[in-house]
């Protein structure tokens, strides 16, 4: 499902203008990462997508639904939202109950609910934790429960706020692969992340925000090539992008494969 954001401004009741004219669209099945400094407006922006916040002016279309004219109930069948802190969204006694909340609230049939819950449990590898209280799990596993609870709603759009916070190497790569799998099935993935190397490894498009505006928007390597503008949004290019630049590579690279390919090209033929 497509997202269409047109000239959105948002002012908090305190008077802080958190979004100052944001426009972009996301086609179905795309993986988009949003980066930028703390306070740039990233979380404020994604909270507009499922109607937790409504634009002060401008419009957001989720498919054919205008978020300003829709209820959260309607939007939540289209946009799943994984909070930055899993404790903000977990409240049931067992993992199994927690994951069933979303699909039950959306009014899915018993069969569909079971099917979606099973898939979400498999994707997040929670099979042996279903009867555990989420608060007896480590933060890493609580995060997985929070993601599974959203995936079980089977929404065409999945939004994740800082999915890799506090996660180790193994979990970060696992999450990246699951997101790619979902995107390949046609789901639209929007994630906020400070982990620029993770973004480079798994996402096709990146938006850099600064002070409530979109500063850069494009395919990862094109955005990472814009060193000066990136610095303005307090983002550092991925490690391999910086290294490739130092080595004078002709192209901007950010992933290991493209780095090694560029290295091979740069070497004199023997």
């Amino acid at each position: 499902m497509q997202i269409e954001i047109s000239n959105v401004r948002f002012v908090y009741p305190s008077g802080v203008e958190a979004l100052r004219g944001v426009s972009f669209s996301v086609p179905a099945g795309q993986m988009l990462a949003i980066v930028g400094q703390n306070g740039a407006g990233k979380t404020t922006l994604v909270k507009q997508l499922n109607g937790l916040l409504k634009p002060s002016s401008g419009t957001i279309m989720i498919g054919d639904l205008d978020t300003s004219k829709s209820t959260i109930a309607k939007l939540s069948a289209r946009v799943g939202y994984v909070f930055q802190n899993p404790d903000d969204q977990l409240f049931k006694r067992t993992v199994a109950d927690e994951i069933a909340v979303g699909p039950t609230n959306l009014g899915f049939s018993k069969e569909d609910t079971e099917r979606y819950v099973k898939r979400a449990v498999e994707l997040m590898e929670l099979e042996d934790k279903l009867e555990t209280n989420p608060y007896d799990l480590t933060p890493t596993w609580r995060k997985r429960v929070a993601i599974a609870a959203v995936l079980a709603m089977n929404t065409p759009i999945v939004v994740l706020d800082e999915p890799t916070t506090g996660q180790d190497h193994r979990n970060i790569n696992y999450l990246g692969r699951v997101m790619q799998q979902l995107a390949s099935e046609g789901k639209t993935i929007v994630a906020i992340s400070h982990d620029i190397d993770f973004v480079a490894d798994y996402f096709e498009r990146v938006i850099a925000m600064s002070q409530g505006q979109v500063l850069l928007d494009g395919p990862c390597d094109e955005v990472f090539a814009q060193e000066e503008l990136l610095a303005q949004s307090y983002v550092e290019a991925p490690q391999l992008t910086r290294l490739g630049k130092r080595l004078g590579f002709a192209k901007t690279v950010s992933r290991e494969e493209s780095f090694l390919a560029a290295l091979r090209e740069a070497r004199p033929r023997s």
Binding site: N38, I196, Q239, L240
Partner: protein, 281 residues
């Protein structure tokens, strides 16, 4: 001189079967910056709790071995004896913020009020802590009207103000942007220059490579590796145990495997080292 001395420490949380720490031996010199790395669940937080006395005095559980912190035997001390020795910045700032203060300034004052620090001294310490963590402009804001990253800075400021000889930080940059993360490491560098000892659990290996004096790798409650960043971060054990390495190290290793780089060259852990590594190729 060692300010932290841990001998044969094993620890099991109450109501659990598996020990969280297994036969840990670790001696840390005063003024050093030691990074703890390892997978989630490896024991990093538990070790942080031990150095600050929460294990065993708050969490209870089964505790074996001898831990000496700044000359005090941990087991025979009480938690209140540790407060002026070692402070902990929790992984989640929400667990640290007192919930009883209406401004950032008062929140940082909280620990100092409990210690009965004189007013003038208190104000001086709070202002310096807010300055160092870059939140002086938020002093009058409510702790709950801050972003996640700002709350993390507040938690750090609150501990800085305690002015203890040992600071323990449990993933203090998890919600910070790259510039904020760099600032935390720069503050840590300043503190160790002033003679403080800093222990930090952290996943961001590029920063550890640039700033830490020593890296300790935990794996399932035991110490897997202990050495300088150069020694530890290039070890193949990190790959074998899926703990990860900097992109510089992993791409250099891949280049060696594909005969795109000299086999005998030392693997890099930083941008500068990586540049030299590939330029000699």
């Amino acid at each position: 001189m060692a300010i932290i001395d841990i001998v044969d420490l094993s620890y099991t949380y109450p109501h659990t079967n598996q020990p969280a720490l297994r036969t840990i031996n670790l001696s840390i010199e005063e003024g050093s910056f030691v990074a703890l790395i390892g997978a989630n669940g490896a024991g990093k937080s538990t070790l942080c709790y031990t150095i600050t006395g929460f294990v065993p005095h708050f969490f209870q559980g089964e505790f074996h071995g001898t831990v000496t912190i700044a000359g005090k035997d941990l087991k025979s001390s009480e938690l209140k004896d540790m407060v002026t020795t070692a402070s902990l910045v929790f992984q989640k700032p929400q667990n640290q913020i007192s919930g009883t203060k209406f401004t950032v300034f008062d929140e940082v004052a909280f620990g100092l009020e409990n210690l009965g620090v004189p007013r003038e001294e208190m104000i001086k310490r709070i202002e310096r802590a807010l300055e160092l963590t870059g939140i002086a402009h938020l002093a009058e804001r409510s702790p709950y009207a801050l972003s996640g990253g700002q709350q993390q800075r507040l938690a750090f400021a609150s501990m800085l103000a305690m002015d203890t000889p040992i600071l323990v930080l449990d993933e203090p940059t998890s919600q910070l942007d790259p510039i904020g993360s760099r600032e935390v490491f720069e503050v840590v560098e300043r503190l160790t220059d002033e003679g403080k000892t800093v222990i930090m659990a952290e996943h961001k290996l590029e920063w550890i490579a640039a700033f830490a004096d020593r890296v300790v790798v935990l794996d399932e409650g035991s110490i897997l590796l202990d050495g300088t960043p150069d020694e530890v971060l290039t070890s193949s054990l990190l790959v074998e145990n899926d703990i990860g390495s900097t992109r510089y190290t992993s791409v250099a290793r891949a280049a060696q495997e594909q005969a795109l780089a000299p086999q005998n060259a030392n693997l890099p852990i930083s941008l500068e080292q990586a540049e030299r590594f590939f330029k000699q190729a």
